[in-house]
């Protein structure tokens, strides 16, 4: 039942992605409306699928890699729907949903499932995982906004308007959007990682473990921390912040990939 629902949701996301891309190219309002509708419908199915899965398992569906990815894209789609309205950036879907699809379709298949042993569960782990995953969802948005920023900035610097110029929103809007996504995602991620470390030390007796997921998570955290503090100091805005957002997201994807390929603490 929930597998069917999840497939329906993914299909809706695929249709929405196509529709958004057509809107991006052709700028026909109807395609955007249809894409938005499919996204909302997909998200509702997705939510129900997660709930049903949770009831079936008798625990939140967060512990295997496919489950985690599913929650990340759930959060990303939710934030996309919100940001699209908040910032009136109708082309946002065309940049966020492809990432969602790549995560949703490519990552779980062919990769080993991560399952936490029943012995190392505690209340903390749920908070650790939920916060980390929500943070990752926001960072998907941060990445999409940064890609749009870089494209528009290059176009404006080139001083010869082309397709990008007409289709993408103003630089400042994109800068604000990426920054907001980061301020939303980073604290969640930090709290999530911190809880993970604390819980790890409590459960295992060591405060740091050196499996690849942990290391890459820390690298990713440092990249995002630099972006945020650079911005707070005042120097890092616009293009530099956007490049770092893209870099951070690459580290994020690597961590997810590494987490799937190597089995460390987070493995079975």
């Amino acid at each position: 039942m929930n597998a069917v629902l999840y497939d329906v949701a993914l299909t809706a996301y695929i249709v929405a992605t196509g529709s958004f891309l057509v809107y991006l190219v052709g700028r026909r309002e109807g395609f955007w409306r249809f894409g938005a509708l499919m996204t909302q419908a997909g998200w509702v199915c997705h939510t129900v699928a997660l709930v049903v899965r949770g009831i079936e398992l008798g625990r939140p569906p967060l512990l295997t890699l496919p489950e985690a990815v599913s929650v990340v894209i759930w959060a990303a789609v939710l934030l996309e729907l919100w940001a699209e309205r908040q910032y009136r950036v109708k082309v946002l879907g065309a940049f966020v949903l492809p990432v969602v699809l790549i995560l949703g379709l490519a990552l779980p298949t062919g990769l080993r499932a991560l399952v936490l042993g029943s012995g190392i569960r505690s209340a903390w782990i749920w908070i650790h995982v939920v916060l980390a995953l929500l943070g990752l969802g926001a960072l998907v948005l941060n990445f999409a906004g940064a890609v749009m920023y870089v494209l528009q900035e290059r176009q404006l610097k080139a001083r010869r308007p082309g397709a990008v110029y007409y289709r993408l929103p103003p630089l400042e809007t994109l800068d604000r959007l990426t920054y907001r996504a980061l301020t939303l995602g980073f604290p969640c991620l930090t709290a999530g990682l911190l809880l993970g470390a604390l819980w790890g030390s409590a459960a295992v007796g060591r405060s740091l473990t050196f499996d690849p997921l942990t290391i890459l998570s820390v690298v990713m955290w440092i990249v995002y921390a630099m972006t945020l503090s650079g911005r707070a100091v005042g120097a890092w805005r616009g293009r530099r912040a956007a490049y770092f957002a893209i870099l951070g997201f690459c580290a994020l994807l690597l961590s997810l990939g590494a987490g799937a390929l190597f089995q460390g603490r987070h493995g079975a």
Binding site: R27, E29, Q152, L156, K157, R159, R160, P161, G162, Y165, Y166, P170, L171, E172, T173, R176, G234, A235, W236, R237, G238, R239, R240
Partner: protein, 430 residues
């Protein structure tokens, strides 16, 4: 049946020397409208006058005659004969006239495609003809739909969205860098006309705080007064630059007066907030290297022209989408008109049967003085049902035939069969 036509000349068919001689003031146009209408040549008429076109929209039994009379009247005040005018005039009838009206109102036929004034001018022309009582149902529905089409073209395509003048291109670029122009501040260096115009546009679109600087203090003060801004001494250029968002330069200096190294310092003080240079000076006032600095964007006059050209191409592309929209609307207008052709017949057929039913029902009830409410209700319903059943087939047939384009055949036939007086298109023009 009277036909719809438009006869006119525009910037492509007639030289301005002729068009300007036909540019009459509103009162004269009103007189001409009333005169043409009174002489019975036109069933409906309106005249559209802009700097780029003179057009007569009319409904007439004899369009050729009506058209000649109209041009004769329009040319007379300046001594233009029909022979002078006729070769410059195009005439379109029926569906092509409808298409033309929609294209004109949507600014697809304009010299500058997508310019916004034309719709207002068409509305004024229509209002004038309305106040002269020379428009009837056909021009009325044509214009009402034309205004709707123009609105749809405006909102559903981007035909009028992108700037097509250099000074407006600066505004548009500002909007692509900053999130709207509300509260944006501007620094104007020098006093070129185009630079002043760009600054004015920016203020109209929400920019506040205009600073003006000039090597000649009095000139700076004067321009600042003009723009409602403040004059700034020339040697405070860089401190001010650190606080504004858009810098417009237009000085006669022979070498760049704004250097990349200085801008870099100003940018640092701005905490990396973007800074947009609009350099209208020739030779350029801003060092080209400024554009390579992070968060600085510098457009010189050639860049602005390139933006305008690209925008024009964009308008052309959007115009093609608008043409498709117009084509759909022309089809809808034709369908509605065909429907109108049979509506009077349907109405009188229904009236006729309803009158018969009422009369026969009253007669029958008169014979049944003791009938209770129930009986009366049943008889009422019975008569109604019979009438509806009889009406159904002919009404459907009429509607179908009108859609197929030969409604008149059935309107005549049905009027004849049911003895409808004065029904059909001749009684009430669509």
């Amino acid at each position: 049946m009277p036909s719809l036509f438009v006869s006119g000349m525009n910037h492509l068919t007639a030289p301005v020397g002729v068009r300007e001689q036909l540019a009459l003031e509103e009162e004269r146009i009103r007189e001409i409208l009333v005169d043409l209408y009174r002489r019975g040549l036109f069933a409906e008429v309106m005249i559209l006058l802009t700097c780029n076109r003179v057009e007569v929209y009319g409904v007439a039994e004899a369009p050729g005659e009506a058209r000649q009379a109209a041009w004769g009247r329009l040319g007379a005040p300046r001594g233009l004969s029909l022979g002078d005018i006729e070769p410059l005039v195009y005439t379109k009838t029926e569906e092509e006239a409808v298409r033309h009206a929609f294209r004109v109102a949507s600014s697809l036929d304009s010299m500058l495609v997508g310019e916004p004034q034309i719709l207002g001018q068409v509305k004024e022309a229509f209002a004038l003809a309305q106040s002269a009582s020379t428009v009837g149902p056909l021009l009325h529905s044509l214009m009402a739909q034309a205004f709707g089409v123009a609105k749809a073209v405006r909102t559903e395509t981007e035909v009028g969205r992108h700037a097509v003048s250099v000074s407006f291109a600066a505004v548009e670029l500002g909007r692509k860098i900053f999130e709207g122009l509300d509260g944006i501040s501007v620094l104007l260096v020098g006093a070129g006309e185009m630079a002043e115009l760009a600054a004015r546009h920016l203020v109209e679109h929400g920019a506040r705080a205009v600073h003006v600087t000039n090597r000649t203090w009095s000139r700076a003060e004067e321009l600042a007064r003009h723009l409602g801004g403040t004059a700034v001494p020339f040697d405070e250029l860089y401190p001010v630059m650190a606080t504004v968002d858009i810098v417009i330069t237009s000085t006669a200096a022979s070498a760049p007066i704004i250097r990349a190294a200085d801008v870099e310092r100003a940018l640092r003080a701005r905490r990396a907030r973007p800074l947009f240079f609009v350099d209208i000076g020739v030779p350029r006032n801003v060092e080209p290297a400024v554009n390579d600095l992070d968060n600085a964007f510098c457009y010189d006059i050639d860049d602005l022209r390139a933006v305008v050209e690209s925008n024009l191409r964009e308008r052309q592309r959007e115009a093609q989408r608008a043409e498709a929209l117009v084509a759909r609307e022309v089809e809808r207008f034709a369908a509605r008109r065909r429907d109108l052709e049979v509506v009077p017949t349907i109405v009188s057929l229904k009236d006729k049967l309803e009158t018969l039913r009422r009369a026969e029902l009253d007669k029958a009830l008169g014979r049944l003085p003791h009938a209770d409410d129930e009986t009366r209700r049943v008889m009422e319903a019975l008569s109604q049902a019979i009438v509806n059943k009889i009406l159904h087939a002919p009404v459907v047939k009429l509607r179908d035939s009108s859609r197929a384009g030969h409604g008149h055949r059935f309107t005549e036939l049905i009027s004849e069969l049911f003895g409808l007086r004065g029904a059909g298109p001749s009684r009430e023009r669509p």
